[in-house]
């Protein structure tokens, strides 16, 4: 019998390892990206490195947030394909954010993003549940329809916006790190949020495992399923909304990261939650670095959201054809 006890010592070691791996990757990404940009202009190296650092930190907090949100949605909706982008949660945050920034104030738009995300989770959940049970296909179809609706609404808003705003909206909707210039304050806020949500999810992880097995089982093992659901949905919406406010709706990070982690660590959320915090960050830093290298090679910007969607689409289909079948039968 292969015994792998879950102990506080192992936990601390894993967190240190995760932190170190992320820090090393982030440092390399700052250096490599900065070197590429600052080619031949030694004077500006310091400024460039400062900007690179901000972008890498942006990628880190956004990646963490989306990976954690995806992990939580998959666990609670008992659906391996659930993810903030696919469920329409990112789109809802995006639409609300744009509306808020165009017609209210850019300072308040992250709050709008959160409310948009929360409202979307509530809508998707209300539509796809029947007598407390979630229909897996209905859930995904609802997400598709909601996304189509939001896309239309965003096009309408774009059409109504001033011509000079249109380019910004389009660029932002692609999922773009650094499109809006310096925003350290928001990076710090979203970073604190991601760490806070990770700590919260770490304490709910036992419950995630049990809910995945069955709601009555979870209830009988001491989990308040109703409260767990509300707390988790609100926290996941909060972190999704904040991530979208920072970098636009970047797709599929919440799908790819949890699944890669499950392949290595297994299905236990007590291990997956802290891993998602560090791996989500590392993953998006690497994706952003790839986009940066592309820019260095071609002199054309590649929004990181385009890159993750290009990888995420095929990955989604792979999951649909393999893992999905097994879990769908068991709903």
């Amino acid at each position: 019998m292969k015994v792998r006890p879950f102990t506080s010592r192992g936990y601390v070691i894993s967190i240190i390892v995760g932190l170190v791996v992320w820090a090393v990757v982030a440092a390399v990404a700052v250096g490599v990206g900065g070197r590429l940009w600052a080619w031949g202009s030694a004077v500006q190296v310091r400024n460039v490195l400062a900007l690179r650092l901000e972008w890498v930190m942006t990628a880190s907090v956004v990646g963490s947030g989306l990976a954690l949100a995806g992990l939580a949605f998959q666990a609670l909706l008992r659906n391996p394909l659930a993810e903030p982008y696919i469920l329409g949660v990112s789109g809802g945050a995006g639409l609300a954010f744009i509306l808020g920034s165009l017609w209210v104030s850019i300072a308040w738009s992250p709050v709008f993003g959160f409310l948009g995300a929360l409202a979307t989770v509530a809508i998707v959940y209300a539509i796809s549940q029947r007598r407390g049970r979630l229909e897996p296909y209905t859930l995904l179809l609802t997400g598709v329809i909601i996304n189509a609706f939001y896309a239309a609404a965003i096009m309408l808003v774009t059409a109504l916006a001033k011509p000079e705003q249109r380019g910004d909206i389009a660029l932002w909707m692609m999922g773009n790190i650094g499109a809006f210039g310096p925003q350290w304050t928001l990076v710090v806020v979203v970073g604190a949020l991601a760490v806070g949500v990770a700590a919260l999810f770490a304490m709910l992880a036992k419950g995630f495992n049990l809910v995945a097995v069955g709601e009555d089982t979870a209830g009988a093992l001491g989990v308040d399923v109703g409260r767990l659901r509300i707390v988790t949905f609100v926290a996941a919406s909060l972190v999704t909304g904040a991530s979208v406010a920072l970098a636009g709706p970047i797709g599929f990070v919440g799908l790819i990261c949890p699944h890669l982690l499950r392949m290595v660590l297994g299905p236990d959320h007590r291990r997956l939650v802290p891993a998602a915090l560090f791996f989500g960050a590392t993953f998006l830093v690497l994706a952003d670095l790839a986009a940066c290298l592309w820019e260095g090679a071609t002199n054309r910007a590649l929004p990181v959201g385009v890159l993750t969607a290009m990888c995420g689409g095929p990955f989604f289909i792979y999951l649909l054809r393999t893992r999905w079948r097994r879990s769908a039968q068991l709903q």
Binding site: P5, T7, V213, G266
Partner: protein, 278 residues
């Protein structure tokens, strides 16, 4: 690894006195529908196996979900060891009462070992760190249910009988004093039916656990239960020893079919044969 937590391998049986579980005048309805339970009372004695019988829709599963605290009755109360169920914090209740539901998802690919470990959930802290006592309880539960060899298999790779034994192992890992089961042998062949019920009897005899088990199978219940409760229309139509409950004049009106009751020479227990009019 030092033993940090308690080591509750055997069931912690509280001091004697009073029934392990009692329910009085339970009323329950889903929404505005007709009440599923309507003034139901029952008692489960300590270290006894109580069988709950009744036709489809007589409220057996609803009753069980109330007894384990998943549903709140509209009226009436449940007492566990003479303390009201509603007064237990959720995790405290989960350390004393285990529940084996009718169906279990095999989602996300948890292994048998991971599934049984989940039974330790109410005993571990917020982050779920395991102490050596947790692993002792898990090994013991695997041993008792004869599922050690399956430990590394995925739950979705198992047969119905194997999976039911694993879910029972998870309940045992909880180290409860009371186990509630909802038709644990519904989809099992006769060998596995008797394996499960034999195991339940051992838990009662060797561990002093109290077992409450919903069953559709009158004869299995008759063969293994100490006492039976027969539900009809949300009430207990009859409660008592098997030979007191399984009587033609009691069963016929409840199930709407004439029956003949005989006695098994080998065990002295009654068994029921339906005799529908030709």
């Amino acid at each position: 690894m030092a033993a940090l937590g308690p080591t509750p391998v055997a069931a912690a049986v509280p001091p004697a006195g009073g029934p392990a579980l009692s329910a009085r005048d339970l009323v329950f309805a889903y929404g505005r529908a007709r009440p599923v339970l309507n003034g139901l009372s029952l008692q489960a004695g300590r270290a006894r196996l109580l069988g709950i019988l009744g036709p489809n829709g007589s409220g057996k599963t609803t009753l069980l979900r109330i007894l384990v605290g998943l549903l709140r009755p509209a009226a009436g109360e449940v007492r566990l060891a003479s303390v009201r169920l509603a007064d237990y914090p959720r995790e405290a209740l989960a350390r004393r009462v285990a529940y084996v539901p009718q169906e279990t998802h095999a989602a996300l690919g948890f292994t048998v070992l991971e599934t049984v470990l989940m039974g330790r959930s109410p005993h571990t802290g917020a982050l779920g760190f395991e102490a050596s006592g947790d692993w002792l309880a898990v090994r013991e539960a695997l041993r008792m249910t004869d599922t050690e060899a399956l430990a590394e298999r995925g739950l979705d790779e198992l047969s119905g009988g194997e999976r039911q034994r694993v879910i029972l192992a998870r309940a045992l890992a909880q180290a409860p004093e009371l186990v509630l089961l909802d038709e644990p042998t519904a989809f099992l062949d006769i060998k596995h039916q008797h394996t499960i019920y034999g195991l339940l009897r051992r838990l009662v005899r060797e561990r002093g656990m109290t077992v409450v088990c919903v069953s559709h199978d009158l004869n299995l219940a008759a063969a293994y239960a100490d006492e039976l409760v027969l539900l009809d229309g949300g009430r207990a139509a009859r409660a008592g020893r098997p030979e007191e409950v399984l009587r033609p004049e009691v069963l016929a009106p409840v199930y709407g079919v004439p029956v003949e009751v005989r006695t098994d020479e080998a065990t002295g227990r009654p068994y029921v044969l339906p005799r529908p009019p030709a």
